[in-house]
């Protein structure tokens, strides 16, 4: 198992970290040194658009906190971590209701009847939401994290979007609405900017 390998100069790469929603942020776990479970939490405090590259991308900025189960190093927090959105996985679940506090101009309009009165496909178009955001974390300082014997230079955070609280429900809806407005087949930059502002209201 990776966690049991001896530390060498060439650390095995940690490719992905699956994380579940935890309020504003996401929490996952990895097998660390000695087979211990290491909890890794990413808590964003700001969402911006990173320009450059092939297209503007959502970038969440915040902190990563690492905590080993049982006896181990004290929890430590790494400031200034960014998570840049690479791509998403569409959900097939029913979309939640829009946040009740949305400004009028951002409220979803009543869905137009389907063209020619034809049946719709579940969870598509305006009824679509995101199941997972795949984000690239900025390099984490592996030498200062003995409990995580990995190459942490390019960790992909698989941030599951699923609502266990009203905050998580709002963020699920807003991230999904932002993504459709920003990168969907009918982009709406004004609405995308509005949704980004609403996301930031909740992350602040």
């Amino acid at each position: 198992m990776i966690g049991m390998q001896k530390r060498t100069a060439n650390r095995p790469r940690l490719y992905t970290l699956h994380a579940l929603p935890a309020g504003k942020g996401f929490t996952g776990s990895v097998t660390g040194t000695g087979g211990r479970t290491v909890e890794v939490a990413f808590v964003p405090t700001q969402a911006t658009l990173e320009k450059g590259g092939d297209r503007p991308r959502l970038q969440l900025s915040g902190t990563v906190t690492i905590q080993t189960s049982g006896r181990g190093p004290r929890p430590r927090t790494i400031e200034g971590v960014t998570a840049t959105l690479l791509a998403t996985q569409g959900s097939v679940s029913k979309a939640p209701d829009a946040p009740s506090s949305l400004p009028e101009k951002l409220r979803p309009t009543e869905a137009a009847p389907p063209p020619k009165g034809l049946p719709r496909t579940e969870a598509t178009a305006e009824a679509s939401t995101i199941a997972v955001m795949y984000l690239r974390l900025s390099p984490l300082p592996a030498t200062g994290l003995p409990e995580l014997p990995y190459d942490l230079s390019q960790v992909q955070l698989n941030a599951r979007l699923w609502a266990n609280s009203s905050l998580e429900r709002d963020l699920l809806w807003l991230y999904s609405a932002w993504f459709l407005a920003q990168e969907g087949p009918a982009p709406n930059p004004e609405k995308a900017a509005g949704y980004l502002a609403e996301i930031n209201r909740r992350l602040a």
């Binding site: 095995p12 992905t16 690479l86 791509a87 998403t88 996985q89 389907p114 034809l118 496909t121 579940e122």
Partner: protein, 577 residues
């Protein structure tokens, strides 16, 4: 049932196997059985773990034996297996963990990808429906002008359908329908009272209703008995694993037969990163593997490589197998690799209650693993031509009492009146759900995710682009209305019509993306599932399909695999491989 784990032998990186088979499901298992029987020394690489039927199957296990009464620990599905739609409390270990197996989709166009990375693959829990395609399907383009025909016809496939049906054991009737060809069947499972009612109603409309053809042993032939398979005893646990081998799956049937020859090496936990290519010839020389558990990197060599990892995993593998000779992916000189993705759609249909059955004493109808099938009745000929869509659909369905009163969720009220209502209607359900063709279009495709998303082992993942067209939507509307009319004619009450189409992937019949064809400029494989570009590579699973038809694909996959194995054996004898 044999425990294959006890017969595993180590795989060698030093020898060249006659054939490397990637995948141990329907196609991979059949390829292993066929080729070992022909004297091939094969290496079967399965990405997932080994399985012990006695430990891992939950046959005859009741919901009350589970702490969570069959529903699983709250939140498990949403946190770990949110795309594994058919995974349940007792079967979840047959399915991948979505946390380790990402894929991405286009905005607003979700795709539900159900996967099994385990020895036996999706055969451990598949629906077992086994239908032949006819020339209405193989030559659909000649019939209606859309897309292209398959490069094969029913006459060529018929002997392989027969071989496949005989080997796996299919129960059903010979119904004499030219567009739903008959096979050599074991006794059919009887219709229930409600299903007889549905049959009468369907026939009043001039359509057919037949017993489902399922890969279940309602009788045992000699080779089934010799292989340790037993007759079905109607326990109804098919989706949780069948320890008696009554349902066809690789674990009970093809893999043990291959193992018995002494010529199969099965290596579980072997994730194939890519096919490796000889830089001087451009031919495949083997595969590069990462061990799922230890993360060790290995290479195995084979004279022939058979890719049978399941439709999209096979195509993902080929797209990831770039090299100087194959810059767009292995065997992709046509640019067709990844394109023409389809899945059947469902969701539309109707359900209700049959009042003539209401209030009767409950009987054990949940053990019968087959229902009814209404074969396609649209666009068979000029008389049945529909003005608004091409191709057609069928209905699966039935009328059987289940072990759980699901109707309670839809019954309003509370207290003793509520209970009386639930009990009255629990014994009288009836329903039809669509299984419909989706047109094969170039613009429905998969690619390696261009933004660099990877899985837990660093293997680049797929991005899926798929959506329905108006042809599917018109078909869906017609199907919903037709199903409702059948139920109305059957005398059903409280009929509920569903017009919502399932998201692509939910029916778990994803097909295409490495289609066969006669023209190497527009197809990936020839008519024998052989890569046009790399002659020692074969793709034998659903990726090879040209079109979806509306029938379940597994029997056709099995038949194509047997045919491909015959062909490659002859090619080796002729010195062409």
């Amino acid at each position: 049932m044999q425990n294959l784990a006890t017969s595993l032998k180590p795989a060698s990186t030093r020898k060249q196997y006659d054939a490397i088979i990637i995948g141990s499901g329907a196609s991979g298992g059949m390829a292993a059985k066929e080729l070992t029987a022909k004297g091939f020394d094969v290496l079967v690489l399965e990405a997932g773990p080994m399985i012990d039927p006695l430990r891992d199957f939950a046959m005859n296990r009741f919901a009350y034996e589970s702490m969570y009464r069959g529903f699983g620990r709250p939140g498990w599905k949403q946190s770990e297996q949110w795309m594994q739609d058919t995974a349940g409390d007792f079967s979840r270990h047959f399915y991948v963990n979505d946390t380790e197996h990402p894929y991405t989709t286009a905005p607003g166009k979700p795709f539900l990808w159900v996967r099994a990375r385990i020895v036996g693959g999706k055969t451990l829990h598949w629906g077992r429906l086994s239908w032949r395609f006819s020339d209405l399907d193989f030559k659909a383009a000649s019939h209606d002008g859309f897309d292209v025909d398959w490069p094969i016809d029913y006459r060529e496939m018929a002997p392989y359908y027969e071989k496949a049906e005989n080997w796996i054991g299919v129960s059903g009737n010979r119904d004499g329908l030219w567009w739903q060809p008959d096979g050599d069947y074991l006794p059919p499972m009887a219709l229930t009272c409600g299903e007889h009612q549905l049959k009468s109603a369907t026939e009043k409309l001039g359509w057919k209703l037949i017993q489902s053809r399922v890969a279940m042993l309602t009788a045992v032939r000699n080779h089934h008995r010799q292989g340790g398979r037993a007759q079905c005893h109607y326990c109804g646990s098919c989706g949780n694993g069948c320890t008696v081998g009554a349902m066809f799956n690789s674990l009970s049937s093809t893999l043990p037969a291959a193992a018995a020859t002494g010529r199969m090496t099965l290596r579980p936990n072997s994730i194939v990163r890519q096919l490796t290519v000889d830089p001087t010839t451009g031919k495949a020389k083997g595969v590069a593997v990462v061990d799922r558990v230890t993360r060790q990197e290995l290479e195995f060599r084979g004279r022939v490589v058979i890719v049978a990892a399941s439709t999209l995993e096979s195509t993902r593998l080929l797209l990831n197998s770039k090299s100087r000779q194959h810059p767009a992916g292995l065997g992709n000189s046509s640019g067709a690799l990844g394109h023409y993705l389809v899945d059947h759609f469902g969701g539309t249909g109707a359900s209700g209650y049959l009042p003539m059955l209401a209030g009767r004493d409950p009987v054990n109808e949940d053990g019968k693993s087959s229902g009814i099938f209404v074969p396609r009745f649209r666009n068979l000929d000029d008389k049945t031509k529909h003005p608004k869509f091409l191709r057609g659909y069928g209905f699966e369905g039935g009328s059987s009492i289940g072990s759980f009163p699901g109707n309670a969720r839809r019954t309003p009220g509370f207290g003793s009146e509520f209970k009386k209502t639930v009990r009255r209607w629990y014994v009288a359900p009836v329903g039809l759900t669509t299984r419909a063709n989706m047109l094969s279009r170039y613009e429905n495709f998969v690619e390696i995710d261009p933004d660099g998303v990877v899985d837990a082992w660093g293997v680049p993942v797929l991005k899926v682009h798929i959506q329905h067209s108006d042809n599917e939507r018109e078909m869906a509307r017609d199907a919903a209305e037709s199903a409702t009319e059948i139920l109305r004619r059957a005398g059903a009450e409280e009929i509920s019509t569903s017009y919502e189409m399932t998201a692509p992937g939910r029916i778990i019949h994803e097909l295409g993306t490495a289609r066969m064809g006669n023209d190497p400029k527009t197809s990936v494989l020839n008519k024998f599932n052989q890569s046009h570009d790399v002659q020692n590579v074969f793709v034998t699973d659903g990726a090879a399909f040209v079109g979806a038809a509306n029938q379940n694909p597994t029997l056709t996959i099995l038949a194509l695999t047997m045919r491909a194995c015959d062909y490659l054996t002859e090619e080796i004898k002729r010195g062409n491989l």
